[in-house]
Symmetry: C2
Subunit: 304 residues, 2 copies
């Protein structure tokens, strides 16, 4: 049985989920305007903003690490501060690993050839970088085809291909019907399944996963069928409107009837929980929200 | 008539093209293995690699600036070195601006909402950043729909939406036929045209452009029809196999019969020209290749 140091990234994530008894992920999308008052930056420079974000994220990580198996960093929130932000992001990723968390980098990269290989080297690191300062998974955009996914195949790392996103505007492309009867999203699902077919773990999941938004539950069952071996990352829960029932079609059932093969992510509803809970400290509000989130998904999927 | 300091990004690019009499762009995709021998890094650290890349790119910029209107930075080649590379990239962008060049950042970003706004703030800068350290244009991926393009609308900046890419694998998604008779690429072209419809310059071009690979010349005329007001960035010329005739369908003709509304980009065939030309210094080889490239496209499009 795989443990949290397993070589295969999918087995490692499954083991971490089993340990916490909840297939959930907390998204770190820090925006300075929404930080707790006492952490808000005093200056307007990138350096002071990044300093505030580091402090905030460090607290969030240490508060949620006991309750969830995984965190997802929204790369844009860090890249926004250029080199200051990028450096901070990889330092925070190392902190997350030190706390035993699996790490997804939500960077939605989508390029080909040597450029895609460079992106993979950046997020997964190479022989010159500190191995703790690298993500286990990255999100990738497959509009450029299989060429844009394959460079992210690594022995111990993985990628989630954007198949069906949670935003309303995604329909304009992804929900379009092709002549072959599939939607564009279903086509993308088949590409992810095909590219990932050769990197399937002992437990039956590929290192190439997929993103399917919680707001698209009516399409999720069909997408799951197209991708039986894909781990599915499910954003859009909470703040974006997806509920507990909406995420269930993304899961498969294991022998014990528990939901496997998907991981539900919540960001703003957890990391900014103090905005709606002033009875406790901001850290406690975040911790409570993370626990409630893990508990609701853990119960709905039969893990608790 | 617009000049190189015009507010509208499309008119600014058109003015720069007119000044150099060639609708071309040089792509900076620096890879340390291919640098001239005397510039190759002596160490293996990110810092030494980036140092070598800065020196190489600085020379290339100053050698090509007199001959071409525009350069394109491949973000992955810099991001590969994380914060070292990101810092270097924006410093080189400032150098390019100081040399009078228009700057495209080929980052292929594709996210929504606040994340997309963060990416736009990163590439275009904000009130805290040095305005020279920011790109005029960025490439964006529209798989997430109009939501992923709109945040890049700014009064004086622009975005090229990936419509039809030059790599063979792109066919698997982009060449697929939809029930409405369009291909996925044509659908994306219509999205770019619609989103860009409100930001058209005096000269008739939008700040939302499109990418159409030189290797897809048989589709280019139809895509051009779907996007009459889009500036088209045409990669894949040279090293990737596209020739002079292949790029012509991307252009419209102005009253003088000159090709307007597209810009052809060549990267490896120019910046590594010394690999095939050992008769002169590496800088001279690059300069000659840039001049030849500008001349061949300038002539084919009626500018020279």
């Amino acid at each position: 049985m795989a443990d949290a140091t397993s070589e295969h990234v999918a087995d490692r994530l499954l083991a971490a989920i089993e340990q916490r008894q909840a297939p959930v992920c907390i998204g770190l999308d820090p925006v300075v305007d929404r930080l707790p008052e006492r952490l808000k930056p005093t200056g307007r420079s990138a350096a002071t903003h990044v300093h505030a974000i580091i402090e905030f994220c460090s607290h969030v990580l240490s508060n949620v690490a006991m309750h969830v198996p995984c965190v997802k960093f929204q790369s844009a929130c860090f890249e926004r501060y250029r080199h200051y932000g990028v450096q901070a992001m990889y330092e925070l990723i190392a902190e997350a690993h030190a706390l035993g968390l699996q790490v997804i980098l939500d960077a939605k990269r989508g390029d080909i050839g040597i450029s895609a290989e460079h992106y993979a080297a950046a997020v997964f690191g190479d022989e010159t970088t500190d191995p703790r300062m690298s993500a286990d998974w990255v999100t990738v955009n497959g509009y450029l085809g299989p060429d844009s996914i394959k460079p992210f195949i690594r022995p111990d790392r993985g990628a989630f291909v954007l198949v069906r996103t949670s935003n309303p505007g995604g329909d304009v492309v992804q929900a379009r019907q092709l002549m072959d009867g599939n939607t564009v999203a279903q086509r993308m699902a088949r590409i992810a399944a095909k590219v990932g077919g050769k990197t399937v773990s002992e437990r039956g999941f590929s290192s190439i996963g997929a993103v399917v938004g919680a707001t698209k539950s009516d399409e999720a069952a069909s997408l799951r069928k197209h991708m039986p071996q894909q781990m599915i990352l499910v954003p859009g829960f909470g703040a974006q409107g997806g509920g507990v029932k909406d995420v269930l079609p993304c899961f498969r059932r294991d022998e014990q009837g528990r939901g496997v093969g998907a991981i539900v992510t919540a960001s703003r509803s957890v990391i900014y929980a103090y905005e709606k809970n002033e009875d406790v400290s901001w850290q406690e509000a975040v911790t409570e929200a993370a626990k409630r989130f893990a508990d609701s998904i853990g119960k709905a999927t039969g893990w608790r």
